[in-house]
């Protein structure tokens, strides 16, 4: 019984911490795929194919927020008869992506060194 409760607590803690980790990289992952214009569903598929699945309910509003923050430009296009809103990085978005990428790489290297240290 005790081990079952511990397991549930650990699973819960893991889920929360993993969610926090993912939250930190979702913006970077999405921006990285918007160097060329993409619409929401296409972007989600692209991220999932590259091993970064993001929930629909998280990604679609995120695109709007990034546009409101002045990092993305968007336009409606009609392709195959369906109107789709395409998003792409603007100049500010490209600058931010560069800075975020450098920062992420630095953190990633540091964390790799830390987690690979033999205790």
């Amino acid at each position: 019984m005790h081990s079952m409760v511990c397991h549930m607590v650990n699973t819960d803690i893991f889920a929360k911490l993993e969610l926090e980790l993912r939250r930190g990289v979702v913006v970077l992952a999405a921006l990285s795929q918007l160097r060329t214009p993409r619409y929401g569903y296409e972007l989600r598929q692209s991220l999932a194919d590259k091993g970064m699945p993001i929930e629909e309910g998280t990604l679609y509003p995120l695109l709007r927020r990034l546009e409101t923050q002045g990092l993305l430009k968007s336009e409606w296009k009609v392709e195959d008869g369906s109107p789709r809103r395409y998003y792409a990085l603007n100049a500010d978005g490209r600058k931010l992506l560069k800075k975020l990428t450098e920062s992420w790489q630095g953190m990633n290297e540091a964390v790799s060194r830390l987690t690979n240290e033999e205790g």
Partner: protein
């Protein structure tokens, strides 16, 4: 309902919660995206999309309220750093208001309240429901603090402070000593105010109201005067030292405890002033001083930090 109707219902519930200027555009985009998501699921399942499939898809998106909230930047009214202090201030304040209401009710004649249920109803409307102004006021205060911090994040910088510092500095302490001396003078010569304000021509009833009883003057008054006078050398010592040393702080706490006990004795013992009204007023003020002193000591004790391993 078919799959399209389920999706339309969801889109409507999300869009209605969004700002008017982006409502229709987001609804149009969401409809296209949900359509493609549903189509993708139907293809993966190898069957036509139906209402249960649409519902399952929408459950992954979350409730319309949550989904709509994600379209906008998070709005913080109370800074998360202030959350616990807000809760504590709200709880303590409301508890005090409820207790004061209960005390007021208990002091009324039993038949005036209209029985126990009537009394409880009066307490509920007069104290419990009415106390909601307090958390409302706190929300406004904390909300303003949060708004200022967001707009000027550099403004309230932390500055180190010595724990034994004199609050308000030496000037405040000098003023406190003078204030204390003036207060003691007024306690010793309560008629001085009447003499000064009315040139000695105030009504005899006024003089009687500000006259101590013989019982009080015989023993309690000298003891109280001694305790009050002891504060002056203590504060002068702090002034000369420039800070509160451990010994001086201990002396102050000890003096405060003795003073509270002395004042409580005065309140619960015989009359202090010659008239019933002035006696009641004086005792109410003394009781208030005791309560404030004890609360202050309690808060200081609660907030004391003594780093030690557990």
């Amino acid at each position: 309902m078919n799959a399209n109707e389920v999706i339309e219902s969801y889109i409507n519930d999300v869009a209605v919660l969004l700002p008017r200027k982006q409502r229709n555009d987001v609804a149009f985009e969401l409809r296209a995206l949900l359509g493609e998501e549903l189509q993708g699921r139907a293809e993966a399942a190898g069957r036509a999309a139906d209402a249960p499939m649409a519902l399952e898809l929408l459950q992954g998106f979350g409730r319309p309220r949550d989904m709509a909230a994600r379209y906008r930047s998070p709005l913080t009214i109370i800074d998360p750093a202030d959350g616990r202090s807000f809760l504590r201030a709200a709880s303590i304040g409301m508890a005090l208001i409820w207790a004061a209401g209960l005390l007021e009710l208990l002091q009324r004649p039993a038949d005036a309240a209209g029985g126990l249920l009537g009394a409880l109803a009066q307490w509920w409307t007069g104290a419990v429901v009415a106390s909601l102004w307090w958390p409302g006021l706190l929300v406004v205060g904390y909300g303003l603090a949060c708004w200022i911090r967001q707009r000027r994040p550099q403004a309230p910088e932390w500055v180190p402070r010595k724990s034994d510092r004199i609050y308000g500095g030496r000037v405040a302490l000098v003023m406190a000593i003078f204030g204390m001396a003036a207060g003691i003078f007024l306690l010793v010569h309560p008629h001085w105010i009447l003499d000064t304000a009315f040139g000695g021509r105030a009504a005899p009833a006024a003089y009687q109201a500000l006259t101590y009883t013989d019982g009080f003057l015989r023993f309690q008054a000298p003891c109280l005067l001694l305790l009050l006078l002891l504060n002056i050398p203590l504060f002068v010592a702090v002034l000369l030292k420039g800070h509160w040393s451990t010994g001086l702080r201990g002396l102050q706490i000890g003096l405060s405890v003795i003073m509270c006990a002395m004042l409580a004795w005065i309140v619960f013992d015989g009359p202090v002033m010659m008239t019933a009204r002035s006696d009641q007023t004086a005792k109410s003020l003394v009781m208030l001083i005791v309560v404030i002193t004890l609360v202050d000591m309690g808060i200081k004790l609660y907030r004391r930090v003594s780093p030690a391993p557990r």
